[in-house]
């Protein structure tokens, strides 16, 4: 399943059902809704259940990966640190093209 070309494609990798996974999903949704509204496609991969879907690009989980368009970028760990994440994923540029 490939995301629509006009949307930012992201994958969130989580490991299992722990509180960190839950928080990562909610934080990612909140962050992306805020900056990209509906101009993004997020898929969430549980690395325990679907190790086959783990790309070589992440060293650990939880991790959010921007697959495209443009250069891929990765952010590992707690997504609560908004400024860091916004910069890593170039969200400000996406919000104000």
């Amino acid at each position: 399943m490939s995301p629509p070309p006009d949307k930012v494609a992201l994958t969130l990798y989580v490991a299992g059902m722990g509180p960190r996974s839950a928080r990562a999903i909610l934080e990612a949704r909140r962050l992306l809704d805020r900056w990209l509204d509906d101009r993004y496609a997020l898929r969430v991969v549980d690395v325990h259940q679907q190790p086959d879907l783990v790309g070589a690009t992440i060293p650990g989980a939880p991790a959010l990966v921007r697959e495209g368009p443009g250069r891929p970028s990765t952010y590992v760990g707690d997504l609560a640190d908004d400024e860091e994440v916004v910069r890593a994923f170039r969200l400000r540029e996406e919000a104000e093209p």
Binding site: A22, H48, D78
Partner: protein, 411 residues
């Protein structure tokens, strides 16, 4: 942190360095659950905190769907069984909203219940919209999990399509059986009515009044059985009979056939409503038929005016008491039902025994009282909403009680 083709420009190098630093920082700060490393066998996931391994294994192997949802409906965890149930890929379900997987008409309620943590507390039947729009019936049960301040719902979703199918088949089979039973009752009733008509025709041609009377008595006995089948055929439950309806119908029919119109006998009915199976209903019907026939024919002979009290009550669970009292001419001296020359009263004695009951009679001033006490299976006793069905003037408990009192003093 990847060993893909080496970057060629400084900008890319800086970006990747920054990412590596960030990842390292996250790991040092304890923000990471698992480490992914590439080995000869491909990507390997190393869990850093694994106290939940056993539970995770259970959740990931069970056939029921297991999900964890946030108060806004976001799916935070789903097992493979849940994804299979929906025919959807797991990575498309995680992070999505459970509300999008529910039938539209249930969404508003579900949204409120999920927010309040009430969804599935006390399992309930619902449906999920699977890939392609097919609705699948499920049983939803949940528990609230309070973790780091924000509550989430841990939900188990069980497919019940098989049970639903089996249930529907059972209901259909039961309906078919009921239809068949109804048909059987209908035919039995028709055949018994034919016998009644034949007896009645024979009675008309009888050479003397005694033969005629005997044939009419036979007609009446067969009719009391036919009425059981007719009522079962018409009733909502083809296996058990409403006793109140049956008794009042039987009294009305016998009164019409044995007394003139207008009747010289006033009947007073007080019947507790309960249900009885076919066998016992037929026996009770025959017994009542004999007692009533006896009263109409003997107690009020020669068009004598009078009263007839019929009471059927449940004095305690598992016990029924039938009493038929009249203020007619009374029994002959030294009467004994078992040794009576009358076939009717011999029958009463035998039928009471068949019911496992006890027959008593006592002279009244004037008249006679018969009482039959017999056990009834408690499981079959279903008193209906008596207050709702009892009509004023339908029963006359007061007079029966008075008559009994009178009987006791008179005896």
């Amino acid at each position: 942190m990847s060993d893909e083709a080496a970057p060629t420009d400084l900008g890319s190098c800086l970006v990747r360095l920054r990412e590596a630093e960030q990842a390292l920082h996250a790991m040092r700060a304890g923000q990471v659950d698992a480490i992914i490393a590439r080995g000869p066998a491909g990507e390997r996931v190393y869990v850093l905190r694994s106290t939940d391994v056993a539970y995770r294994l259970v959740l990931e192997t069970i056939h029921e769907g297991a999900i964890r949802i946030a108060t806004d409906g976001t799916i935070l965890y789903a097992n493979a069984a849940f994804a299979n149930m929906l025919g959807e890929r797991l990575e498309n379900i995680l992070g999505a909203s459970i509300l999008d997987l529910l039938p539209p008409q249930t969404r508003a309620d579900a949204q409120r219940e999920i927010r309040d943590g009430a969804w599935g507390q006390g399992p309930f039947e619902s449906a999920l919209v699977a890939h392609g729009g097919v609705q699948i019936p499920v049983l939803v049960s949940s528990a609230t999990l309070l973790e780091e301040g924000s509550p989430t719902l841990c939900v188990v979703v069980t497919q019940i399509a098989e049970q639903k199918r089996a249930q529907a088949l059972l209901v259909a089979a039961l309906r078919a059986k009921e239809t068949l039973l109804r048909e059987v009752h209908h035919r039995v009733k028709n055949n018994l009515q034919v016998i009644c008509s034949l007896f009645a025709m024979q009675a008309e041609r009888a050479p003397d009044p005694v033969s005629r009377q005997l044939l009419l008595e036979g007609t009446s006995r067969v009719r009391s059985i036919a009425m059981v089948h007719e009522m079962l055929y018409r009733s909502s439950d083809v296996a058990v009979l409403s006793i109140r309806e049956y008794v009042s119908e039987l009294v009305k029919t016998l009164q019409a056939s044995y007394t003139g119109a207008p009747s010289n006998v006033a009947t007073h009915l007080s019947v507790d409503d309960f249900r009885l199976d076919l066998d016992r209903s037929v026996t009770l019907g025959l017994l009542l038929n004999e007692l009533l026939t006896n009263a109409f024919q003997h107690a009020f002979r020669d068009d004598r005016d009078g009263n007839l009290w019929v009471r059927l009550s449940l004095p305690r669970e598992g016990l029924a008491e039938l009493s038929v009292c009249d203020d007619g001419v009374g029994l002959p001296q030294g009467f004994d039902a078992a040794r009576s020359p009358s076939m009717g009263l011999k029958l009463v004695h035998a039928l009471a025994q068949q019911l496992g009951g006890k027959l008593e009679w006592h002279p009244l001033e004037p008249g006679t009282g018969f009482t039959v006490t017999f056990p009834i299976p408690t499981a079959r006793v279903q008193p209906w909403e008596e207050a709702a069905t009892r009509r004023p003037g339908h029963g006359d408990r007061g007079s029966v009680a008075a008559r009994e009192q009178q009987g006791k003093t008179g005896a």
